[in-house]
């Protein structure tokens, strides 16, 4: 198994795809980080100068101590992890399209070994992407935010944890979809459409039908819940008692409307990844490689 993991690792490092996708990931994360700080600053300035004292009273802290950066960071992580997902999606679909899968299967004890080795390597890559995303989001946010709006040390650590987790899970989901749809363009387009358009429309419909709780069980809803719920929790931990309506608004701002607790969200998305990977596994296991 160690041999196959090394082989899969070499596959990823001997082509330029890993940095070709990592660069836009870092740029996107940095951009969102910068924008988060600026928007947060704008909002806080607005809140401080106008008659939103009611809200401050609710939250129990003055606006300049609101950790508004948390919401933008959660959003930045959500959007940036699209890239590791695409990277994962190309793991198996790319090999099938280029027909290198033949040699891969000829040199592995079994297809199951190949796929497991691949999954392990892509979990590692997911973690690397996650760390890079966290790094660049942080640089952007720190650059444009007042220190009062930034999380404390524990908050940073918690965000870093869910960022890496989220990135790993998104990569795994991508690997599964890539195995299920053995066509690079097909897998990538479907994933982008689903995560950027289809499920967002679905969220709107579910909210309209007044069953927002379902959102937390959908793939995008649950992965957003992982980061978004942590952001809301961290925000509220420094605020006072907040009425449920306001909390719902905050959750929506964090991109975690209708989501479960962060660890529940993570487990739900892990289940989705597992289902997709199992499907891809079954498809690959019985596939005739002609």
């Amino acid at each position: 198994m160690g041999n196959l993991v090394q082989a899969e690792l070499r596959k990823t490092t001997t082509t330029g795809l890993w940095w070709g996708l990592l660069i836009p990931t870092a740029v996107l994360a940095l951009g969102w980080g910068l924008a988060t700080g600026l928007l947060g600053q704008f909002f806080v300035d607005f809140a401080s100068t106008s008659e939103v004292d009611d809200v401050s009273d609710f939250l129990g802290v003055s606006p300049d101590q609101w950790k508004v950066s948390l919401f933008g960071m959660a959003r930045a992580i959500n959007i940036s992890t699209i890239f590791p997902m695409v990277f994962g999606a190309m793991a198996i679909s790319g090999e099938i399209s280029r027909r290198t899968i033949t040699t891969t299967f000829l040199t592995a004890p079994s297809r199951m070994h190949s796929m497991l080795a691949k999954m392990l390597v892509y979990v590692l890559w997911g973690a690397i992407y996650g760390l890079v995303i966290m790094l660049f989001v942080s640089i952007g946010v720190v650059f444009t935010s007042e220190s009062g709006q930034l999380p404390d040390a524990g908050g940073w650590a918690m965000l870093a944890l869910v960022c890496v987790l989220s990135s790993i899970l998104m990569t795994m989901f991508g690997v599964g979809v890539g195995a299920l749809i053995p066509n690079v363009a097909g897998a990538v387009v479907l994933l982008l459409l689903y995560f950027l358009v289809i499920e967002n429309v679905l969220h709107g419909v579910l909210a309209y039908l007044e069953v927002p709780a379902v959102i937390g069980f959908l793939p995008n809803g649950s992965i957003n819940g992982l980061t978004g719920s942590v952001a809301v929790d961290l925000f509220l931990s420094t605020a006072g008692v907040v009425p449920p309506e306001i909390e719902n608004v905050l959750r929506a701002i964090a991109g975690a409307g209708g989501a479960l607790d962060w660890w529940w969200s993570g487990l739900v998305f892990l289940a989705w990844s597992g289902i997709v990977f199992a499907g891809g596994w079954a498809a690959t296991q019985s596939k005739d490689i002609t």
Partner: protein, 318 residues
Amino acid sequence: MHDGSGLIAVQNLTKQFGSVTAVHNLSFTVSPGSVTGFLGPNGAGKTTTLRMLLGLVKPTSGTATINGRPFDQLGQPGRVVGAVLEAQGFHPARSARNHLRVYAAAIGVPDAQADQVLGLVGLGSAADRKVGGFSLGMKQRLALATALLGDPQVLVLDEPANGLDPEGIAWLRTFLQSYARMGRTVLISSHLLAEVEQTVDQVVIISRGQTMFYGPLDQLRQSQQKRVLVQPSDINALAAALRAEGVQTIEQLPDGRLAVSGVDSKYVADCALKAGVSIYGIQEEQVDLERLFFQLTSGQYAGYAPAPYQQQQQGGWA
């Protein structure tokens, strides 16, 4: 694990793709120490059979084993069997050396083996070039290098001469023969008998997914009856004389010669002398393996000969 015999055994192998039967009840064995040709016209089921042997395609029924085991039970297959298959891909952005290092890691052989096989197939100077810029022949050599990485006991090659220049084909021929002489097993497919005739010792000929002939190439040659082509001064006199001697298989060719089967030219000449017939020309027909191959594999995908034009007869219904 596997028994290390180097034996390839295909038994009652059948594969159906939907309603199409690609391989039908195929059986043969391939022994170590010789190069075996796996022959048949395009679409006869060669590639499907090899892919079933290599665990890439699941048989509908029957078994295909290497060293007594199906492919997925070989443990470290890369060390037992190496394969060059048609449509085996390379990542165009990966260099030849990196391509080999990926699979060296998978098989579990040292990286130095990558450079060694590159040298072996004559690609040493192209090691750091990206495979995307390789010619078909170079890709074929790289595929062979990949197959040799694990120093396998069994080598399976699907149409390996495709894309190779004459020099490359000559090199491959020598290489495969010496590989087999080391007591290893070499199975090589081709749709042209002539292409592998000088390389192989054994042949398996299939057509329409079924075995048509299976045995040593020499046996195939002998199964073809010799013919003597003779141009006598008097065809009828010679034919009569031969019949009197008990030779029945006499045929008159369109060019005016007689084709006599089952006897040699000396016999025909002696017979003509006794009958007082002059002989203007005589030759023993060379064994034409290609024609035999056509006879064995004919029919599949063969077009009909154009029908002769017939004038419509008026009122010829009776």
